[in-house]
């Protein structure tokens, strides 16, 4: 095939929402702002039962089955819980919102860079990032970033404060008032926060620092869920589950918080199908949802990022505004998107 003139074989974008790790503290709901104690990981050793599916030969023979089930299934895992006096989990992290999306971090083709820049400028002019920023703001307000810790929490309060050279503002949200299923909330506080996020994203090299301080009343001595570490060939160590900690404080990975923040994709085809829909999914080039083991935007259906980006960045129009939002949200997420020049 002939070599295309405006193909960038090296193309990369930096993330524009830079999340820190989330640090976990325990407290009580009444004294939540004054008494915070860092949560530590505990090691648990338990005698588990054999509960996996067994081979037909063992299943059918009661003697063999008994012998199998009598074996101790010893496990050592990390766990993290509030103390008996505490009923509230406190999660703290920061997000830096950066501008300069019109410049790729790396691009080795000037023609492509020029046409991309025009497309990105046109998007900023028309939409000013207001739709994306509103969704990011709602994901802060609804405390989606708590992940499993959000489930069953009685009360959740999210304090957000925004800071940069010109701004210093803060808001308090009652997360239970915001759904994680849709982004239809109209709210003055959300609008204020979203405007600031949008300003930073549309800027050339400005930034906005967000500090998030979240309290979730999960119940006395209840277990809480930091991130699990991914340790591949960890040798013969006995522990089967290793949780994340930073300087002896239980923590959530920045990547995990970032994923929750960009869970704003309601534009994939199956979203409206009540049977197949996964609700809002995280912004990913192929619409990947790890816990479902499924990619919701496949190249076969021409709904993936690359299909849109390749025409959009070369100056053509996309069929729907939602597609543009999706493409820009991917660029906010960042990544390496170079294509083969063959």
């Amino acid at each position: 095939m002939a070599k295309k003139e405006n193909t960038a074989s090296v193309l990369a974008f930096e993330k524009k929402l830079v999340t820190s790790d989330g640090h976990m503290y325990g407290t009580t709901w009444q004294e939540r702002t004054t008494r915070l104690q860092p949560l530590k990981l505990n090691e648990k050793s338990v005698r588990g039962t054999i509960s996996n599916r067994l081979k037909a030969a063992i299943k059918g023979d009661p003697a063999k089955l008994n012998a199998e089930v009598e074996k101790a299934n010893l496990q050592r895992v990390d766990a993290c819980a509030l103390t008996p006096e505490q009923d509230t989990l406190n999660l703290q992290f920061t997000i830096k919102v950066l501008g300069g999306i019109t410049e790729p971090a790396a691009c080795n083709n000037d023609l492509f860079k020029q046409s991309y820049r025009n497309a990105a400028r046109a998007y900023i002019e028309t939409h000013q990032f207001s739709e994306l920023a509103r969704r990011y703001a709602i994901n802060l307000a609804n405390a989606r970033f708590l992940w499993r810790n959000r489930v069953g929490a009685e009360q959740i309060e999210v304090q957000v404060s925004a800071k940069n050279n010109q701004v210093e503002k803060s808001w308090t949200f009652d997360a239970t008032q915001y759904s994680t299923k849709h982004f239809d909330h109209q709210d003055e506080k959300i609008d204020e926060l979203a405007t600031l996020i949008a300003q930073a994203l549309s800027s050339d090299n400005d930034f906005l620092m967000l500090e998030i301080n979240c309290y979730a009343q999960v119940g006395r001595a209840q277990e809480v869920y930091p991130s699990e570490e991914l340790v591949l060939d960890k040798g013969k160590g006995e522990k089967s589950k290793i949780l994340y900690q930073v300087q002896d404080i239980a923590a959530m990975h920045s990547q995990k918080l970032g994923n929750a923040l960009r869970t704003i994709d309601t534009w994939y085809p199956e979203f409206t199908d009540p049977e197949a829909s996964a609700g809002p999914i995280a912004i990913e080039p192929y619409g990947a949802v790890t816990n479902r083991g499924k990619a919701y935007r496949t190249p076969a259906e021409k709904q993936d990022f690359y299909t849109f980006f390749d025409v959009w960045a070369r100056g053509e129009q996309l069929q729907a505004t939602e597609h543009e939002h999706y493409v820009m949200a991917i660029l906010v997420r960042g990544g390496v998107f170079g294509e083969s020049d063959k």
Binding site: D233, G235, G237
Partner: protein
């Protein structure tokens, strides 16, 4: 030299998140020296773009804390790298795990600058603050926070000014080049990799006395009968192994490409209060023939070495 004033920009306690700890193909740990000088050079270019004609000539790196993302279980013999799970591919299948060593850092940078007047310093600090927040990365890591940068003058030979700077950087460890150890070992006929391992390995041995009591000893290589200090392998530059040419899919289409190998030597983490003059902690670029090197001025004129190649 006495009386020479060094103008220094200090960026105290920069917290860097998920920095690249894979500094050379065979070492993991503190990010490579090229990463630090590169980031400072990028900072200078951004400042120059904004009409602040500052020149950053040398960089000192002080590590206050490094949290290397590895895991070692109770009975494990080796550390394993803590990885990151990556999104599924287009078929919904799990993508391959790629081992990337990462670390969280708390570092201070000491940058020797020139070419600006005293009046311009305030705007320099302001712009540096803005760029570090909004644009610059360090060793591929995100800058989470840092204390306000400050400009200080240190006159050569002035104890008081040096003490003031040292207090600013304590507690911490400045990264110092110890190529001299490599040169000495290789002059004694040791192979480069062997010399490197010799200085960084820790040996355990035991003795059994008459009463069957076992005593364990831990020792590492000594220099002149004393401990050589906190010695670590560090990556300090590159050695070109091909001619300048255009390569397919190179990152920058206008600059010729060259394949290179990283240069690894020994370094030492040394408390700043033990440093006798600022120059001892500063690193500078040095290019010569096939070498692209970050080095300290004590090595400015490379000493001859029997193997003919003291860097590797």
């Amino acid at each position: 030299m006495i009386g020479a004033v060094k103008k220094l920009l200090v960026i105290p306690h920069m917290k860097v998140h998920n920095a690249n700890a894979l500094s050379s193909p065979f070492t993991i740990g503190f990010p490579a020296m090229t990463a630090w000088l590169g980031a400072v050079h990028a900072l200078q270019r951004q400042l120059n773009k904004q009409h602040i004609g500052v020149a950053f000539n040398a960089v000192g790196v002080i590590s206050h804390d490094i949290d290397l993302q590895t895991y070692k279980g109770e009975n494990d013999y080796v550390h394993s790298i803590v990885g990151t799970g990556n999104p599924l591919d287009k078929t919904g299948a799990r993508s391959a795990f790629i081992e990337e060593a990462r670390c969280h850092l708390d570092v201070s940078l000491v940058i020797e600058f020139d070419n600006i007047t005293v009046d311009e310093r305030a705007s320099l600090v302001e712009q540096v603050t803005q760029l570090l927040h909004g644009k610059i990365k360090m060793a591929s890591g995100d800058i989470k926070s840092f204390n306000t940068p400050i400009c200080v003058n240190v006159t050569h030979g002035d104890e008081g000014e040096l003490k003031k700077l040292q207090r600013l950087l304590m507690p911490g460890y400045a990264l110092i080049e110890r190529r001299d150890l490599m040169i000495a070992a290789m002059n004694e006929g040791q192979d480069a990799l062997q010399a490197l391992i010799d200085f960084t390995s820790v040996h355990y041995s035991c003795e059994t006395d008459d009463t069957d009591k076992v005593t364990w000893f831990r020792h590492s290589k000594q220099v002149n009968g004393a401990s050589a200090g906190w010695i670590v392998p560090i990556a300090t530059g590159f050695y070109g192994i091909s001619e300048l040419a255009a390569a397919k899919n190179q990152r920058d289409p206008d600059t010729p490409h060259r394949f290179a190998e990283s240069l690894v030597t020994l370094g030492e983490f040394k408390m700043p209060h033990r440093i006798l003059c600022v120059e001892d902690m500063l690193w500078r670029y040095h290019t010569q023939g096939d070498y692209y090197l970050c080095q300290q001025s004590q090595f400015a004129t490379p000493e001859p070495c029997d193997s003919g190649n003291e860097f590797e």
